[in-house]
């Protein structure tokens, strides 16, 4: 566990303080949110949440290649693989690190965006919970797609091509949930949230095992 936390800390330090990734992803998030919001009238608060979901998926996927490809390129991945810890150990630390990074950066962006849209407090909570659940899904799916394209250069767009179809079901479901105006039917909303969480229980272990398999099989970084 000590080594897992060490790897997690390194991932977080790398994302937050090095290379300006945090600033880049936040800027991209706000820029895309603003561009999308031009298409939506400010009264349509439900759609504002959908914009955030879409932009979250885009930004998370575009930056996902840093999770594995950087380590693959400089052969750190080789050294991590032979450090005596299994691929699941490595991938869970990396995924968790990227998720924390995403949540913290994108939450900041979401607050700014929702403030601009003047979303009522009760809807804001719902949108935030949905965004949190969707961040788990988008992180896992984007890291999975980036693990598939680890050997290719400039793979941001390719990642999007892989991640978008995989996320579409949960994205549509979350969008329909956010489209419900008001919180009158609380029971129904809780049920929808449970279904969305169930998506996580399927996607997270699947992607962890898939990514672990890929990094254990990927060969030769000469």
């Amino acid at each position: 566990m000590k080594h897992w936390i060490l790897l997690l800390k390194r991932e977080l330090a790398y994302f937050f303080f090095k290379n300006g990734y945090a600033l880049n992803i936040l800027s991209l998030f706000l820029m895309l949110s603003f561009l999308f919001s031009l298409l939506i009238p400010s009264q349509e608060t439900g759609k504002a949440g959908i914009v955030i979901l879409l932009v979250q998926l885009l930004t998370t996927t575009i930056f996902a290649h840093h999770v594995l490809q950087d380590d693959y390129k400089d052969s750190t991945l080789d050294q991590l693989k032979i450090s005596g810890y299994g691929p699941i150990f490595l991938i869970t630390a990396k995924l968790f690190g990227y998720w924390i990074f995403n949540v913290s950066v994108l939450t900041t962006g979401t607050f700014v965006y929702l403030f601009l849209y003047k979303i009522p407090v009760d809807q804001f909570y719902l949108q935030f919970i949905v965004l949190l659940i969707m961040s788990v899904l988008s992180t896992n799916i984007s890291v999975f797609s980036s693990s598939l394209t680890m050997k290719t250069e400039q793979n941001g767009f390719l990642n999007l091509l892989i991640a978008t179809p995989l996320s579409i079901a949960s994205l549509l479901y979350a969008a329909s949930l956010l489209n419900q105006t008001g919180l009158d039917n609380t029971e129904e909303i809780w049920l929808d949230l449970k279904v969305l969480t169930a998506f996580c229980f399927i996607i997270v272990p699947t992607t962890v095992f898939a990514c672990s398999y890929i990094i254990s099989e990927i060969q030769y970084n000469s």
Binding site: D74, T76, I82, G84, Y85
Partner: protein
């Protein structure tokens, strides 16, 4: 004792090497030689399981490494072609991570001292020359007490004085009972090192003991 039994590597086009058999006893240094594409790096990567599609068997103290590759890998320090270091982190941040992750943090001062890294500890790696970056990478060898060192072109970018430091380190490791496998175009002049040319394994089987 590390033994490779009939290792064969074929890619989709040709056989890289065929039936490589060798044993390296404790305290042995084996230099794998050969021109580009002869399979030196591949052979080194086969040992910790970074390349899996091989024919043949590798044993460590007469136990097949595939029985418990994770435990076996804890005995290995591997230095590849590239430096597994983050250019955005300082020298000390890079070394501290590897010392805590795979080695022992108590060994860090000795590693720094041996490779004379004291003056550059707070410098970010990207500001260092390739030679100094290689020094930092090589200092990782001293961060853990592993029994088997796999070194892929370790002398790349090093000046003659650092090559001497490296040579001394390898010889000391061998004296200490460790095993060192080096892939190199050039023999770097290590005392009592055995050499094997992978081209010799192209068409025939050779048994080799170092």
């Amino acid at each position: 004792m590390l033994t490779c039994h009939n290792l064969t590597l074929k890619n989709s086009i040709f056989t890289v090497f065929n039936n490589v058999c060798f044993t390296v006893l404790a305290g042995g240094v084996l230099v794998l030689q050969g021109p580009n594409g002869s399979g030196k790096t591949s052979l080194l990567k086969m040992i910790p399981g970074l390349i899996k599609n091989n024919i043949g068997r590798i044993t460590w103290n007469n136990i097949d490494i595939n029985k418990d590759i994770l435990s076996f890998n804890k005995n290995i320090s591997y230095i590849g072609h590239k430096n597994a270091l983050k250019p955005e982190l300082s020298v000390i941040e890079n070394l501290e991570f590897w010392a805590k992750f795979k080695g022992e943090i108590e060994l860090l001062p000795a590693a720094i001292h041996y490779f004379q890294l004291e003056d550059i500890l707070d410098t970010k790696l990207r500001f260092l020359s390739s030679g100094w970056q290689r020094r930092v990478e090589l200092s990782k060898l001293l961060l853990s007490n592993t029994h088997l060192w796999l070194l892929d072109e370790p002398e790349t970018n090093l000046d003659s004085s650092t090559k001497n430091i490296l040579r001394g380190l390898i010889e000391a490791k061998a004296r200490d009972g460790g095993i060192v496998l080096i892939a190199s175009h050039n023999l770097i002049g290590i005392r009592n090192a055995a050499c094997v040319n992978l081209l010799d394994f192209k068409n025939e089987t050779l048994d080799f003991i170092a």
